[in-house]
Amino acid sequence: MKLRCVVVGVLTAVMAASTAAQKTWTPPRTADGQPDLEGVWSNATITPLERPADLAAKAFFAPSEVAAYEKRVVENANVDRRRSDITADVGLAYNEAWWDRGTHVVKTLRTSLIVDPADGKIPALTAEGERRAAAVAEQRRLHPADGPEDRGLTERCILWPTAGPPMMPSAYNNNYQIFQGPGYVAIMVEMIHDVRIIPLDGRPHLPPNVRQWLGDSRGHWEGNTLVVETTNFTNKTRFRGSSEDLHLTERFTRTDPDTILYEYTVNDPATWTKPWTAQVTMTKSDSRVYEYACHEGNYGMVGMLEGARAEEKNSAKAGAK
């Protein structure tokens, strides 16, 4: 058994203490007077975006429940899931050595990243949202790999959820470095070396016809909270089915030397019946951001497309027999 055990960081009283201390701690200031968010941060967490069904009514873990829960989740992720069913096994090709999904729940102890709606679930799609989602699914079903555009943005090395925005925890490389210069907050996202340079001078957004993968962000400080408004998304970004009219509001509040509470509100009336909000705690890391040159080594894309062509040839041959 090649079970690789992972030393589980057991969270005890420390967790409870830091949530309580949130209110009183005031962040230091950068040279030009901004609350200091600088440093390398990770938003890896095992807390899922939406609350799992069996925890429907439970918005928070009690501090005592956290350790056991975390232990089980991490061990479960590490079990060598050699599967009888081959395709599932191929699908789980890595074991934990390659993943870095994190080993802790969010410091707020919530059972989901989503905080509003209260049930921790993404609100219902509008009719148009349903239609659009169905169309995308159908396109993917009919054309899994006709050309590179049919693969996901991560497989095309164009955009990862870690960059978003919103910046979502992901399978690995959940690392960010924040720099603050006069009039700017810059966030370097490790995957895929995207840098969000957020001007704080209240300038207008780019013209509405200019659409960008990471949208166009404007920031301002409300007390110790950095508020970032982002618009101008493309219709190709589709964060969980969002449209190009997505209006995203992100809030960064440093609650203690090692924690930034990152909260985002998704407002896209063309897709969801009402806005929804999620929170992720970003934890200070003493690691650094490494280069994630994705496109340069993307043998996978060729492999996938050639694989599809090979399968078509085989099925054609089989059919012809």
């Binding site: 030393v7 069996d54 925890l55 089980r72 479960n76 081959i86 395709t87 096994d89 497989e155 492999g303």
Partner: protein, 138 residues
Amino acid sequence: MRSITKIGLAMGVALLAAAPVWAHHAFAAEFDGKTPVKLQGTVTKMEWINPHAWIHIDVKDKDGKVTNWMVECGTPNTLLRRGVNKNSVTPGMEIVVDGYQAKDGSNKANGRDVTFADGRKVFLGNTGTGGPGDAPEK
């Protein structure tokens, strides 16, 4: 196994389902579950690149003919944080790869398990690099 509570089970299932979605790409799209391979060979080159690291190995078959295989691994950045570096895997090392061949029939496979001949895992922070991260595993 029995002691896993309902929560753990639920979480486990959710996690399981989530796994492939989060991978850089669904391996099933590139590799073929119906053609498993077991390759024993000598490393000729280690490409520490994203999105996936690739090991190039020379594999000798029964009558000595050598073919070069490319083995796809995970994203290296995770391991860099555990102290792995370009000296962790160097040309000349003997390794064993359990995985699946590429669908297009080329000499490519995914590194389901990559171990030394003695069964020790290759990709751990502790392969002689004294890096932080997971406890040494026997």
